[in-house]
Each structure stands twice: as C-alpha cells, then as structure tokens.
Symmetry: C2
Amino acid sequence: MDPLPEDGESSRPRRRTRIQQRNVEAILDAALDVFSQAGFRAATLDAIAERAGLSKPNLLYYFDSKEAIHAELLDGLLDIWLDPLRALDADGDPQAQLMGYMRRKLDMSREMPRESRLFANEILQGGPRITDTLGGTLKALVDEKAAIIRGWTEAGRLAPVDPHHLIFSIWALTQHYADFEVQVRAVLGARDPFPEAETFLDTLYGRLLAPQG
Amino acid sequence: MDPLPEDGESSRPRRRTRIQQRNVEAILDAALDVFSQAGFRAATLDAIAERAGLSKPNLLYYFDSKEAIHAELLDGLLDIWLDPLRALDADGDPQAQLMGYMRRKLDMSREMPRESRLFANEILQGGPRITDTLGGTLKALVDEKAAIIRGWTEAGRLAPVDPHHLIFSIWALTQHYADFEVQVRAVLGARDPFPEAETFLDTLYGRLLAPQG
DNA sequence: TTATTGTTTGACCAACTGGTCAAGATCACG
DNA sequence: CGTGATCTTGACCAGTTGGTCAAACAATAA
C-alpha cells in the first residue's frame, strides 16, 4: 500500500507511523549528503540507501523515484534558503538590515553547508529542476527587496550601490565559504574560516554601505 | 600504434599529424562543455564523443580514459586560472594592482565560463583530483601574494583588510557570474550582467581598499 | 487469535557506462 | 603505385544504475 498517499486536500505532510517518520527523515538526510556532494546525476540510490541504513527497494517504498527525493529536498530548502532575504525590512535601519542579512547568510553557510552545495550543484548544472522558481518566486523577491534598497539609497541613508548586484555579492561571498570550503580550508591551513570571514565581511560591507564619502 | 606516446623527454605536447591536432582539440573542447556542465562522474564519454563528432572508440584512441581527458583539461587550466594572481606585482600601485586583478578575473568569468564551472564542479565535489594542487601550488601562491598585500597595508598604502579573505572575495564575486550565471540571468531578466558587475565591483573594491577613512 | 495493513527484502531486469578488440578505411611517402 | 603507419568503427563485454515485483515479515486493531 502506498505509504505516503499524496494527501490531495491538506498540504500537511502528515506522516502516519513513527516508522515512516524515522525512515523518511533518514532518507532525506542521507540524500542531502549524497546529492550535495555529487549532484543529481552522479548520486546513486545505492549510496543514499547505504547511508540511510536501508535497502534500495526500501527507499523506493517511501519515495517514487530518485527525482522525487531530490524534488522534496529542493522544495523544502528553497523556503528556508530565502527566509533571510524575506526578513529584510524596509522600516529598519538600512545598514543594520543589510549587515544582518549578510550575517544570517553566513551563518547558514556555516550551519547548512550541504544545503548550500545542493543548490550550487543544481545551478551549476543549469538548474533544470528549478528554472521556474528562479525566474518566478526568486526574481520577484529579489526585485522587491532591490526596490527597498534603492529607496534607501535615494533617501541618502545608504551609499549608492546597484541593489541587485549588492544582493548577488552577499550570495557569492557567504555561499563561497560553504561551496568552496575545500579550497578555502586548503589555503588557510588549520585556521577556522568563519570567524575571519565574518570580520572581513563586516569590514567590507561597512565600508561599502556607509552613506557619504 | 599509440597516437600520443607520452613523450618521455621533451614536455612539448608535439602533435604529430594535423588529424591528431584537430581531433584532440575537438575532444578537449567537447569535454570542457560536458565536464563543466555535468561534473566528472555525471559526464559520459558518449556525450563527449557526440559533441566532438567522433565515435566513442575513436575518443579512446586519442585518450586512454575518461580520467585522462579530465586530467588534461584540469592541468592545462590550472595555469591559466592562476595567471592573474601571479601577475599581482609588489612594485605596482596597491589599489591599481588589486583592481586589475579583480577585473582580469571578471574578464575570465565572462570569456571562460566553462572553465570556471569545471573548477567549481571539481571543488564542490571535494576536489578529489586536485587536493594536492590546492594545498601545494595554490596555497603557496596565495600565501605569497597575501604577504605582499599585508605589506601594502602595513605601509599605509591600503586600507587594513585580511589579505586571504580579500583574495577569496575576489574569487567568489567574479566566479559567481560564471558559476551561477543561470541564477543571475534569471533574476536580471534581459540585462547583461557583466557591465553592471564591473561597475559594482569597481565601487565595492574602491571603497574597501582606499587607505584612510 | 486473526485479519488487515504496513514494512522489508532478494531476485531480477533493461538501459547505460567505460572500455576492448580485431578488422577495415584512409593517409603519407618513397 | 604500393606499403606501412595512422585513423575509424561495429560488435562486444562486464559492471553499474534506477526501478519492479512477489513473497516474506512485522505491527496492529478487532
């Protein structure tokens, strides 16, 4: 019998038994490991199954297909991933808001590097499974927040900057520490990148954003 | 007969016939397409062969294995990739040197996005085929240039910044426009990212690096 | 207990993948 | 031209991969 019968009405992911709860969680966690390190195509169900401590047919009892696992991961993540940007508040202090956004993104890179790499892999490969979201939800959100930033600049509360590229820069700089962690650590040796990164980014955005010259 | 007999003595890649010249080039170009978009494991010899206009056995007449093609690409690229950083000159004007480095990296993202993605894929997947280089050549080069930058700062010719993270920031910001091109373009719509990016990065590093406050 | 539902697995399959090989086609040069 | 070297390919192979299925096993409610 179908274990997770795509509940047509309610969108609650009601998990029926505690066995399902446990196994679905284990699968998604293992899949995050594997997909984020290998990308969709190079990831194998065998690898996910092994890491989850289940047999491959057992995986496919809980999820229809490899695609379905990947899709559930991406869906669940897109929301979390954009939350910090959603929190950018037009009524707050411009510099504090942007510094806070940057710091939250850096925190996510430190605490959720697998998620960061999952997205990076997806985008690198042309984002075939999220192009809709990119041109839809994401673009809308970025445009909205860019307008807020432009407002701040025009009010003289922020140094003049291209708002879109300011946002890109925050993505690039913070996610770099997760996506290119291997490289960063190889260059830094034993040093922990993150405290240094936070100091550096504070300086960088402090100097970039302070109004006046 | 072996087409490219690993010339033991001379390190010149002397290609004997023009057929070899043409086909090896076609293979490497096709392989760059495929590897940069899919990553090593997900790339297939069939895909490379098709794009190169050759049969799969014919590919393997010119290269011993899939690994060999990938290795030749990475080898050839690592040099080119680090050239802009090598060019950073201790005797030049600090700001001009760093701005020049940043612009050259941005140019490379615009003109060699496939190469950028090839590296990104490799690093994202843990860099199994270049860990030696990362902790060796790369770390040495970065440490050397970081020392130069520190010297400039201590001489008061540059605003105080962590040199390593300054270099990371240049990598992250410039390569972002190649590696995450799909996302950037989805958000910007029809606009061409690169001219805007150059202006933005000029502003950003101008404000970050200018000595004094 | 028993009937029902939920869970797990070994055996299996077709498609794909990297790679081999021997035979044939083509080229360069005396 | 002829001959040896270079180039190309169809057929093939073993290992991997996503996915199926029927049968066995476990949990649970009546």
